[in-house]
Point group: C2
Chain length 453, copies 2
Amino acid sequence: MNLLASALVTDLYQLTMLNAYYAHGMRDTAVFELFVRKLPRERNFMVAAGLEQALEFLEHLRFAPEELEWIKGSGKFPGGFAEHLAQLRFTGEVHALPEGTIFFPNEPVLRVTAPLPEAQLVETRLINLVHFETLVATKAARSVLAAQGKLLVDFGLRRAHGAEAGLLAARASYIAGYSGTATVAAGIRMEIPVFGTMAHSFVEAHDDEAAAFERFAESAPQNALLLIDTYDTEAAARKVVALAPRLASRGIPLKGVRLDSGDLAALSRSVRRILDDGGLADATIFASGNIDEYRVHDLVAGGAPIDGFGVGTSLVTSSDAPYLDAVYKLQEYAGKARRKRSTGKATWPGRKQVFRHTDRAGRFEYDAVTVEGDEHGGEPLLVPVMRKGKRLGAPESLAAIRERAAGQLANLPERLRALEPAASPYRVEIAPALRKLADQVDHAGEEVPALLR
Amino acid sequence: MNLLASALVTDLYQLTMLNAYYAHGMRDTAVFELFVRKLPRERNFMVAAGLEQALEFLEHLRFAPEELEWIKGSGKFPGGFAEHLAQLRFTGEVHALPEGTIFFPNEPVLRVTAPLPEAQLVETRLINLVHFETLVATKAARSVLAAQGKLLVDFGLRRAHGAEAGLLAARASYIAGYSGTATVAAGIRMEIPVFGTMAHSFVEAHDDEAAAFERFAESAPQNALLLIDTYDTEAAARKVVALAPRLASRGIPLKGVRLDSGDLAALSRSVRRILDDGGLADATIFASGNIDEYRVHDLVAGGAPIDGFGVGTSLVTSSDAPYLDAVYKLQEYAGKARRKRSTGKATWPGRKQVFRHTDRAGRFEYDAVTVEGDEHGGEPLLVPVMRKGKRLGAPESLAAIRERAAGQLANLPERLRALEPAASPYRVEIAPALRKLADQVDHAGEEVPALLR
């Protein structure tokens, strides 16, 4: 059983409901939409990510023999249920925002149209994938905006919530504009550029810090970026200056140094001076250690001579807002629009489309959410990506997705680009046609009229 | 390539350092310890978890052929490096706190003693596994304390950071005292009890709420727990009362209802009254929706008639403190104690042991951290679990780990059991022998004396 592709990465209630659907012949077409109900206070926008993994999951969805055995032996289901599951494949349609698209609350990021059991079963894993990558891409975009073009690298794997989280965080941050990751698995599986320097343990394993630097540079002649804060940062910077000529004479260029603790603003300045005075004006300074977008902003805005940042825990856990209010809701079944009206959790019914309105320069002005088929100006954002369980095209390249994200960030209204909560949120209009449908659903009881299509 | 067991779930710098270690013949014995530097403000203690997954990883550590090919083709390493990696296995020793042990900052939760390259390579994944399970077990223990014996179930998979996070969160919360999880994969892979009810989509897919209830009960006769907040909670409770006699006549017992939104304190009371007045005094009330340990505490302490809670996002993301300051540091190499002294990140050197002092009733009084071999009263907490790369015994059962955690929670000083930050933290003494060793390491330069053993 491959956990990451398993149909049992789901909640038990999905199986319980499937059993009831099969028992009662409820296999009509269902439409579910995945969206975020509201933004965390710390976020002004979101960046869509995770679609590729969601499609991969749907395309290969099936129950493995040992999974079917477990279901039969669990005592939770009647005979015959496992046989239904053995046949189950995803045969539906998917519409989605292309990855890298900026979006806002109440805008579907993904829509599934499929026979009810198929569309129901996949809820848990679809949210699990799209929620997490969107969470990290959104967090990453903030440091990208703060860094003003300086190098950013994902250093977060060790504190990511498991291996898959580390891998997907590398992908999501790369989409948002990071230059790469330290996570090797992301290099081999996703062709994301991989970066790395050295750790304190390397220095500590030597009796002499300068000897450690020399050995590291010898072994990594293309990548001689030396970690200088193990004992005394400025003293170590002087050791680097003393070492550089000997390395140069052997054809090893000193790439730079890394700071990982202390007052990075002050240390970067004093180290810069030591390097410059020692003739190492080309050596770069890379900073890491408890970095987040706020520190990136302060250091960059304050003019600290830092050339790049390793961002770890805060990025991969989205530590100031570690989840989004992402849900996947039934909006139509058997041709009738549906909605839940639970207190504080009511949803807009029906199949929806999002239209984005921009000014002449392409800058976002506002979005409108309406029912599919409603004539409306602006650019429709949801596009078909899967039909009859098959993708409509090859997976998008990460390069194309990165380019989309960069373009969208460039067109974001200025007030939303700040790290602080915007005084006024981005405007997302609910169009009259959608309001009318909601009203019809609420008041027509069992006689909801046919949808606008 | 199985991501979850892959040797490339690591940072690139581990490989860069390994290459240098091999190039310079640095294969002496290294001792690394995994510990947490300080507690988040929102935590008074931690519960150790993740050792089982860490040992599984170490026992099966090897580079897959396609991983070695990637390394050869990456252009980042000289010829011969991949051949070293092809031979690499974990041949070392591990000492650890048994899972379920309560522990505190600066206390090693795991110690690795192995040839330097092996001990270095595994840093990233060991932190990744132990950090996350410990994070969730710690968070879960807080709701266990708040729930005062009421049923708790993990509902978090959809907002967990990936599939592995969902699976490991189910395990970690079960260790801490949860009764089970909604995550089916945790049932099949770890034999954790799996719970589930129904979703709003099930109700919405029917034109009539009462019909949905009846169909669900028919299809899940042992598990007729009905979700009643899709439209109007109290009205739905009355529908349940009306339905119950018909179900009873067909031998289907009504198990209870689930509330998922609104004012749970008020609704649980009004629903309880409706159920009781309708002759359904045995029907239970289960609550979910934005639940965390604070809400569990308020509802339980306030006497709300709720029999159990589904806890999701807040649990699996540890949302108020989504990471711990967990690190893995070189403490000894080639027989010499080591430490880093980076600003704010200095570590205690050498191989250590933790001794716990308790009163006559077994309640924790304080811990002492000292060098291994130092004679000290109290109970030593770190035990050997792996030698020469092989476990010293079969994996502990989850039942045994749960029992240990429950016993430890019962013996926690009262001030640490509260949800609020304790006025005074638990006392962790650094013993004189350890202070002396740190002093020797700092002042002896290259002539650190032999360790106390």
